[in-house]
C-alpha cells in the first residue's frame, strides 16, 4: 500500500481540457504525412485538388486557431489507470466530463451532444464517452478521440456466422465502404475489430484509432488483412471527397481477438480524414 501514487482528478480535468483544444485545432502529424503521401500517388486531378484543400485547411486551422472541422466531435476518452495509482479529489468520470466541458468552451469548439429524441443540445458537449481500464503501473494515460458524426453514422457492428469466415469479414468491410460512399468525408481510415463479443468488438474498433497511420500491426495475420483491405477499399474509386480517385482510405487498423465458438463478430468503425487523436500521460 505504501507504493500507491496519489493523483488528484483535477489534474485529469486540466489535462483533458488542453487535449481537447489541441485535438480540435491541430491535425496530427501522422495524418499530415498521409495527406502528403497520397498527393504523390493520387491519379485523379480533382482528387489531388481535394487533398491540397485538406492540407491548406490544416495549415490555416493551426495558424488561425480555428477548428480543423466544424464538427469538433463527441469526445471519446480512453483512461488507462495504473493499479498503483490512488485517485483523489472526486469522481473520475465526472472529472473527465469536466475537462471536456472546459476544453470545448475555452477553445471555441462546437458542442454537438443532444438528447436522442428531443434533440435538445446539452450545451457543453457532455456527457462524453469514457472507457476506463485498470493497467499495471503508477501512471494514468489519457487518450482523446473526438469523433465526428458523419463518419460515425457509417459504422457497423455485424454478427457473422463462423461459416462466413475471413471472406465474410472482407465482404462486410467492402459493403460498409460502398454504402458510405462520399458521406464520411473520404479519404477515410477504417477500424476493423474481429472476434470478441458484440460490445467488445465495437470498443476495439474505436480504440485502434489511437494507433498512428503508417504503423503496422505486430500480428502478421492482422497486418496482412490490413494491407488487403486497404488495397480493396482504394480500388472502389470513391476517392478524396467522394469525387473519384485512388485515395479512398489512408489506412486500415485491424484488431483480432478470440470469440465464442458460435460467433464471428465484426465491428467496422469509419473515421473521417480529420482523424484527431491526442494523448497525455500523468
Amino acid at each position: 500500500m505504501s507504493d500507491l501514487r496519489v493523483i488528484d482528478v483535477g489534474q485529469i480535468s486540466r489535462e483533458l481540457a488542453r487535449l481537447c483544444g489541441e485535438a480540435g485545432l491541430i491535425l496530427p502529424d501522422d495524418v499530415s504525412r498521409a495527406f502528403a503521401s497520397a498527393m504523390q500517388s493520387e491519379p485523379s486531378p480533382v482528387g489531388r485538388e481535394v487533398l491540397q484543400v485538406l492540407i491548406d485547411n490544416a495549415r490555416l486551422a493551426a495558424e488561425e486557431r480555428l477548428p480543423i472541422c466544424q464538427d469538433c466531435g463527441l469526445a471519446v476518452v480512453f483512461v488507462d489507470v495504473g493499479q498503483d495509482v490512488h485517485l483523489v479529489g472526486g469522481d473520475l468520470a465526472e472529472a473527465v466530463n469536466a475537462g471536456v466541458r472546459q476544453g470545448y468552451q475555452e477553445h471555441y469548439l462546437r458542442k454537438s451532444v443532444c438528447h436522442p429524441f428531443s434533440r435538445a443540445n446539452t450545451g457543453d458537449n457532455t456527457p462524453c464517452v469514457v472507457h476506463t481500464r485498470i493497467v499495471p503501473g503508477d501512471k494514468v494515460r489519457l487518450s482523446l478521440l473526438p469523433k465526428g458524426g458523419g463518419s460515425e453514422n457509417m459504422s457497423r457492428v455485424l454478427l457473422l456466422t463462423p461459416a462466413q469466415g475471413l471472406e465474410g469479414v472482407k465482404k462486410a468491410v467492402l459493403e460498409a465502404v460502398l454504402h458510405a460512399g462520399p458521406n464520411p468525408c473520404p479519404p477515410i481510415i477504417l477500424g476493423v475489430a474481429v472476434g470478441g463479443t458484440f460490445d467488445d468488438a465495437a470498443v476495439r474498433a474505436k480504440r485502434v484509432f489511437l494507433r498512428h497511420l503508417g504503423s503496422q500491426n505486430p500480428d502478421p495475420e492482422a497486418a496482412a488483412l490490413e494491407a488487403e483491405l486497404l488495397a480493396m477499399v482504394n480500388d472502389t474509386g470513391i476517392g478524396p471527397a467522394g469525387l473519384g480517385g485512388g485515395t479512398t482510405c489512408l489506412g486500415v487498423f485491424v484488431d483480432i481477438a478470440p470469440c465464442h465458438i458460435a460467433s464471428l463478430p465484426v465491428a467496422i468503425n469509419v473515421q473521417c480524414h480529420a482523424a484527431r487523436h491526442k494523448e497525455a500521460v500523468l
Binding site: P43, S44, V46, G47, V50, V53, L54, D56, N57, A58, L60, A61, E64, R65, L66, P67, I68, C69, Q70, D71, C72, Y108, L109, R110, K111, S112, R119, N121, G123, G149, G150, N153, G181, P182, N183, P184, C185, D235, T236, G237, I238, G239, A241, G242, L243, G244, G245, G246, C272, H273, A274
Partner: protein, 185 residues
C-alpha cells in the same frame, strides 16, 4: 474539362440550367444555413401554413453547423455536414423555389427527381475543410431557432465560396461519374 462558373444569389432557373455535374462554382451573395433540427422545424412551419424563416424562392441553403466564432471573427469553422439526413425535407423546399443546396455526400432518388422537376442543383463543398471555408464567409447572423445552438438558421454573406456541382438539372451525378472513372476491375 469542367469549367469554373461564378454565381451570385438569388439564383434563377437560367443560372442552374447553365450548370453541369463536375463544374466548379464560386458562389457569392446571401445564403442560409440549416441542418437536421432546423429542417424539421422549417418544414413543419410550412405544413402549418406559416412562413419559413427565409424566402425559399431563388435561395441557397448550406447544410452546416458552424463552430462558435472566436473573438474578432464572424464565424468559426464552417464545412458542410452530410446531406442525406436532410433528404426527408429537401423536396418540400425545392418545390417552394429553393435553387441550390450545399453539403457533402449523396442524395436520395426523391431529392434528385425534385431537382430535375423544379430546376435546382446540389453543390458539394469539401467535407472537413471547415477552417478554409470560414474564409469565404464575410458576415453571419442568426435569424431563427437560436435555441438550436449550432443548428440555428443563419444568414451568411459569402464571397467566392468554392463548390463542385454534383447533381445538375439533367440527371448528372458527379459522385457516380467520378467513382466510375477510377474504379478498378
Amino acid at each position: 474539362m469542367s469549367q469554373i462558373k461564378r454565381l451570385s444569389t438569388p439564383l434563377s432557373d437560367a443560372d442552374v440550367e447553365g450548370l453541369r455535374s463536375g463544374d466548379r462554382v464560386l458562389l457569392s451573395g446571401t445564403i442560409y444555413t440549416g441542418r437536421d433540427a432546423a429542417h424539421k422545424r422549417i418544414v413543419a412551419a410550412m405544413a402549418a401554413g406559416q412562413a419559413p424563416p427565409f424566402d425559399p424562392r431563388g435561395a441557397v441553403i448550406f447544410y452546416v453547423g458552424p463552430s462558435p466564432a472566436p473573438p474578432g471573427r464572424v464565424i468559426g469553422a464552417a464545412g458542410p455536414t452530410t446531406s442525406y439526413r436532410m433528404d426527408a425535407y429537401a423536396p418540400t423546399l425545392i418545390e417552394a423555389g429553393l435553387k441550390a443546396m450545399i453539403g457533402k455526400g449523396g442524395r436520395g432518388p426523391a431529392v434528385k427527381q425534385a431537382m430535375q422537376k423544379h430546376k435546382a442543383v446540389y453543390l458539394a463543398a469539401i467535407g472537413g475543410a471547415g477552417a478554409l471555408m470560414a474564409h469565404c464567409i464575410k458576415a453571419a447572423e442568426v435569424i431563427a431557432y437560436d435555441d438550436l445552438g449550432p443548428e440555428a438558421v443563419r444568414r451568411l454573406e459569402v464571397a467566392e465560396m468554392p463548390l463542385f456541382v454534383v447533381n445538375d438539372v439533367y440527371g448528372g451525378d458527379l459522385y457516380e461519374e467520378g467513382r466510375a472513372a477510377y474504379q478498378k476491375k
